[in-house]
């Protein structure tokens, strides 16, 4: 009998690369498609961020603080808000000021550095922590890694950086018979609480909601609450992309109305609560430790890293990129470091995924390239230019 919901929304926009040709290598070191980035950001701001923030703010106020949510906003997205749509930052700030919104910490560049370089991982986590403090005046205490990537050892490093609460996927192959609706603890560090995504109920909202062929369509707040009530456990972790609302799922589907109704319906029940991740960790004791020797994520059926590091193209690009870590560590050049960060965004590797040859609508939806091969060529051209710059900087030194 779960009597509470933990809502967490992921906010991220990749820094898309421009068409970067071989002829540009060594000549032009601007890598980004500013036009696409601005256009997409402004569109998503109008369709999703601004109306949804407004809706959440209204709901929080109407509930007198009983309704709570959490956000994780990547540094790449923050940079784009700052540059193209500062009004979005203002509306997040308003949400932050209610005290009902928790901001989670993640890697600044929405990167996979946690599986590549502990030093780079730590650097980006610190950088993100500072950014959240800078923009919203709060210090994050709970952590979510890019794409909910988690393993025992990643969790341990996150703990050592000061985060006692971490979010990850309630992956079926990890959970087995166990329910994701409890708090678990890290297998290496007993003191770290793990909050798991209930992928079934999360995806009911994030993916199945607009699907008219779905047996449960149309999904109403009342129906959804009965599912939560029936679920075994302490809380239900509903973790999803924030862009679900209005961008991935069009407003005409009624998704905004659903999100407006859900808290009202739930809070009619006096025993029902909305908790932020830190509150969940404080309210419920871990029921057992969870052993995750190999990294898991929230992506695809496999719930592993193969969407980003599953073929030779991705592995090659990834190893060439992180092969620069040592050289960069002796360079104190903010411009180089910024490009290094943007090139680490997990999206670039996602575009090179070949899994969508056999389905995978999500991959197609997010991909600005016609094929993973194009994505690879373009990325490697950019990276080649970047490598030249790094080597030049080393030579000067």
């Amino acid at each position: 009998m779960a009597k509470s919901i933990c809502l967490y929304f992921q906010v991220h926009q990749p820094t898309r690369l421009r068409l970067y040709r071989f002829f540009d290598i060594g000549k032009d070191s601007h890598y980004y498609d500013d036009f696409a980035n601005r256009t997409i950001l402004k569109r998503v701001a109008q369709k999703c961020y601004l109306p949804m923030n407004k809706l959440l703010l209204k709901t929080i106020k109407a509930s007198k603080g009983a309704f709570k949510v959490a956000f994780s906003i990547s540094g790449s997205a923050l940079e784009q808000f700052d540059r193209y749509a500062p009004e979005v930052l203002d509306s997040f700030k308003e949400l932050a000021d209610t005290g009902c919104v928790e901001f989670l910490c993640e890697t600044y560049y929405h990167s996979l550095s946690s599986v590549a370089s502990p030093a780079e991982f730590e650097f980006q986590v610190q950088r993100h922590k500072e950014a959240i403090k800078h923009y919203f005046g709060v210090e994050p205490v709970a952590f979510r890694n890019t794409e909910l990537v988690y393993s025992d050892s990643i969790g341990k490093q996150v703990y050592e950086m000061g985060f006692k609460t971490m979010l990850t996927e309630g992956a079926r192959h990890i959970m087995g018979w166990r329910s994701p609706n409890y708090v678990y603890s890290n297998d290496f560090v007993e003191d770290q609480s793990l909050l798991l995504r209930n992928y079934s109920l999360s995806d009911d909202i994030a993916f199945r909601f607009p699907d008219k062929s779905w047996a449960s369509w149309p999904l109403t707040a009342e129906k959804f609450k009965t599912w939560v009530d029936e679920a075994e456990g302490d809380y239900v972790g509903l973790f999803m992309d924030y862009e679900t609302f209005g961008e991935h799922t069009d407003a005409s589907s009624g998704i905004f109305d659903f999100m407006e109704a859900l808290p009202q319906v739930c809070l009619k029940d006096a025993d029902f609560h909305f908790y932020t991740p830190s509150e969940v960790a404080a309210a419920f004791k871990p029921v057992s430790e969870l052993s995750v020797p190999n990294p898991i994520s929230w992506a695809d059926e496999e719930r592993d890293l193969t969407a980003w590091l599953g073929n030779e193209l991705q592995n090659e690009a990834f190893s060439k990129l992180y092969g620069l870590q040592e050289k960069l560590s002796i360079l104190n050049d903010p411009v180089l470091w910024a490009d290094y960060g943007h090139l680490q965004e997990s999206d670039h590797f996602y575009y090179m995924c070949t899994k969508f040859f056999t389905g995978g609508d999500m991959h197609k939806y997010f991909n600005p390239y016609n094929s993973p091969y194009e994505a690879f060529i373009n990325y490697m051209n950019v990276l080649s230019d970047f490598i030249i710059r790094v080597n030049d900087a080393i030579a000067v030194k």
């Binding site: 040709r21 071989f22 002829f23 540009d24 290598i25 060594g26 000549k27 032009d28 073929n311 030779e312 193209l313 592995n315 090659e316 690009a317 190893s319 060439k320 094929s371 091969y373 194009e374 690879f376 060529i377 490697m380 051209n381 990276l383 080649s384 230019d385 490598i387 030249i388």
Partner: protein, 425 residues
């Protein structure tokens, strides 16, 4: 003379070669009527008279042609055989064909047929219609010509029709064969049949190299005494080499062409990996696209050399010249190449070239480096040497330039004129 395309609107090398040939013939005092399926009107007619097959009505001779066509038995098939098309168009054509779900078309008479003159999905239909028009033109212009000359299989049926109806001798010119388009066990039998028929009906078969001549003799069973090799030339008049500022300081080794089985892209990649083991100051570029491109990209990634091995995709217009201008070594590791004009262009741009023995160009280029396409060690050695020893690359540049500048279509045309004279006696 029956061709399929003529500059400025060309998809492959065939049109360029045809222009060189008619110009060379003009300089040798031979007049030509050049028939093509779809002329645009902006072709250079200073050396030939262009006849646009799309303007020709087949009405008045339909009966005669009809009789003839019965014998030839045209089949229309939805064909994806595309000899010189650029890969993007190829995929488009296939997609389009899938959508249209074309059924077989009968060849009709009494009207003009608008040819696309391209290498599209209904190529076979165009080829057979072109034969009808070819016969008609031969009758209309009877008395104006002495020899019929047909370029590549697309025009062979037109050549045969013209020969049947006019009684004039036929020369078929083999720029490429089915064996250069697919591997031995992947030959399009419909095209092969047309090629073989054209060669058999011809009084002389001209091949663009000894290599192609041998294919004509061995794989098509043609009498060696009527097969003659006339090597291609190249016309660089009026072309200045581009000056391009380099972005990368490393040396650049370039492969430029369709990324298909016949061009041997995988050998280039293997050689590149070997060179990169020994030296870092070099980058490799594979310019072009094709059905093996994705495989090539995976091979590069697997070998872990993607930071030094770049793909440009299909290059258009001046980007080709730009690519040559950025190159230090050009490589053409073709598995099967009837001639191969690209190393000549490279050498003209002062880029030393490494070419495979399995290319027609290898027969005439003394100052190109030659290796077997499969011998990636030798390829790597040559690349390394050209990069490391400036004396060698300077030597190859200087003599290579002189060599390609000495190749003239006039010489090739003189040989053709000689052939014409033999068969009109």
């Amino acid at each position: 003379m029956f061709g399929w395309e003529f500059p400025p609107h060309i998809a492959g090398g065939l049109g360029t070669a045809c222009k060189g040939i008619v110009e060379g013939l003009a300089h040798n005092g031979v007049e030509t009527l050049f028939v093509m399926p779809s002329a645009s009107g902006d072709e250079d007619q200073s050396c030939t008279t262009i006849i646009n097959a799309s303007d020709v009505e087949v009405h008045n001779v339909s009966q005669t042609v009809d009789e003839f066509l019965d014998k030839v038995k045209f089949i229309h098939v939805d064909s994806n055989l595309v000899p010189y098309v650029d890969p993007d168009e190829y995929f488009e054509a296939i997609e389009k064909m899938k959508k249209e779900k074309r059924t077989s078309t009968t060849v009709g008479f009494g009207q003009k047929f608008k040819f696309s003159g391209k290498y599209g999905a209904n190529l076979m239909e165009e080829v057979s219609r072109y034969a009808q028009v070819g016969g008609t033109i031969a009758m209309q212009h009877a008395g104006e010509f002495d020899v019929i000359h047909a370029h590549d299989w697309l025009t062979y049926l037109a050549g045969i029709a013209a020969k049947e109806l006019s009684g004039k001798p036929l020369v078929v010119h083999v720029h490429a064969t089915s064996f250069d388009r697919g591997s031995d066990d992947m030959v399009d039998t419909r095209v092969y049949a047309i090629e073989k028929r054209g060669m058999e009906m011809a009084d002389r078969v001209v091949a663009v190299s000894e290599l192609t001549r041998n294919i004509v003799i061995n794989k098509y069973g043609i009498d060696p005494s009527k097969v003659v090799a006339v090597h291609n030339a190249v016309d660089f008049s009026g072309r200045e080499n581009l000056q391009v500022e380099r972005g990368v300081r490393d040396k650049v080794v370039t492969f430029l062409g369709r990324i298909t089985y016949q061009k041997g892209p995988e050998y280039f990649i293997d050689a590149a990996a070997k060179v990169l083991k020994r030296t870092k100051g070099v980058r490799f570029v594979m310019a072009g696209s094709g059905d093996m491109m994705n495989k090539a990209i995976r091979q590069v990634a697997r070998l872990g050399i993607a930071d030094r091995f770049h793909f440009t995709g299909f290059l258009r217009g001046s980007d080709v010249q730009k690519m040559f201008a950025l190159s230090d070594v050009y490589i053409m590791p073709s598995v099967s190449e009837p001639f191969g004009i690209s190393p000549l262009e490279a050498m003209r741009s002062n880029v030393p070239s490494i070419i495979s023995y399995q290319s027609g160009a290898a027969e005439i280029l003394k100052y190109a480096f030659k290796v077997d396409f499969w011998d990636v060690d030798a390829m790597a050695d040559d690349i390394y040497a050209l990069l490391q020893y400036p004396a060698l690359s300077k030597f190859a540049e200087k003599h290579g330039l002189e060599e390609v500048n000495a190749l003239k279509w006039d010489h090739a045309a003189a040989k053709l004129k000689n052939i014409y004279e033999q068969i009109t006696k």
